[in-house]
Amino acid sequence: LPDSRTETTVSGKDAFVRVPLVEEHSLPDQSLLLFEQGTGTAFPLNESGARVWAMCDGAHTVDEIVDQLAARYDASRSQIEEDTHAFVSALAGHGLLVRQSPT
């Protein structure tokens, strides 16, 4: 992803939700192209990025997303955690995700 416009701090207890008006184009190789209609900007996500995006539904915390990725990919949990936090932060920085308010 390109550098985001703003810095977003991410905690494992946070849950994020996808904003409306982001168009999703799923590709056969499991990658995903996001298109933000407001700015006309496209963001390509690889397969693991697409999985994170799909789990940003407000129901999964970042820790739960990391758990699911750690069960799937052959990398250390700490590395997956670091990458996921950075990725979610970047998506939020671009205005594609918003933090879910605690209910």
Binding site: E23, H25, S31, L33
Partner: protein, 274 residues
């Protein structure tokens, strides 16, 4: 002795123009480039493209508000051809213009995408030397519904380094090169490709010691294609959708070019499916 003026009519993917010239070599050169787009009669709304020889003193060309004056023929041909290509792109309302060469073999077509100076022309001619059909080395239009490829053929712009590399690679330049420096895809058997793109290669720079071809995700390629339409800062939904579908139907790679012969061999294998 001034020669008589001639008129030839062409329609390039909807863009209609009349080529008026009093110079036989110019008429022959531009007709070679646009032969497949020739139409028999005048078209409503066609613009005039004029290339005039001053009878030994130089050449003037004109296309709508664009004009040029050149002492020698190659400059005049290149100037008018560039203006015609730009006008054909600007004319489009729905077709998506990509900065891409189109090369095919046995009905398998590849788009070679990259900015000016990325090496599309040199690589295209090296592929033509290997028997591939190159329809354009620079601009391909995409029909957004069908994803049909509509190349705009261009004359090859080659600097002396590229010519030396291509000659070392075994390319024999036709006689037109010495006469007018105006070579077109048709001179190497290039014809419009059939069907959609099955391979998309995005050329990155600069040239490396060895060519590097790496697969990229289809989403990454769609975003890169978007950057080559000139619409990246404010893309529209139809363009994004079409380029996503184009990438979805293709094997996608980046190419870091290396020495020409190795690079062209590797890309030719990729296109042939080897």
């Amino acid at each position: 002795v001034r020669r008589a003026w001639t008129s030839d009519w062409f329609r390039v993917h909807g863009f209609a123009f009349c080529l008026r010239t009093n110079h036989r070599e110019s008429r022959r050169s531009l007709a070679r480039l646009y032969e497949e787009f020739r139409v028999a009669e005048a078209s409503v709304g066609a613009v005039q493209a004029v290339l005039e020889s001053d009878g030994g003193e130089g050449f003037h060309w004109k296309l709508e508000d664009k004009t040029g004056a050149e002492a020698a023929l190659p400059g005049a041909l290149w100037g008018l051809e560039a203006a015609l290509c730009e006008a054909a792109i600007v004319f489009q309302k729905r077709l998506i213009a990509l900065h891409a060469a189109a090369a095919s073999q046995d009905r398998r077509t590849a788009l070679l995408v990259g900015r000016s100076g990325a090496g599309k022309s040199t690589l295209s001619l090296a592929l033509a030397r290997r028997g591939l059909s190159v329809a354009t080395d620079d601009v391909t239009l995409i029909e957004p519904d069908t994803l049909r490829l509509l190349p705009i053929p261009r004359c090859f712009h080659l600097d002396p380094d590229s010519v030396a590399l291509l000659e070392a690679d075994g390319l024999r330049f036709p006689g037109e090169w010495k006469r007018s420096r105006f070579l077109v895809p048709r001179d190497f058997g290039g014809a419009a490709p059939a069907g959609r793109a099955e391979v998309v290669v995005f050329i990155t720079g600069p040239r490396e010691e060895r060519p590097g071809i790496a697969p990229v995700s289809q989403a990454e390629m769609a975003a890169r294609l978007l950057s080559e339409t000139g619409q990246s800062s404010a893309a529209n939904r139809e363009t994004v959708s079409a380029l996503s579908r184009l990438a979805a139907g293709a094997s996608c790679y980046t190419l870091a070019p290396g020495p020409l012969t190795e690079t062209a061999d590797a890309v030719a294998r990729l296109i042939r499916g080897g």
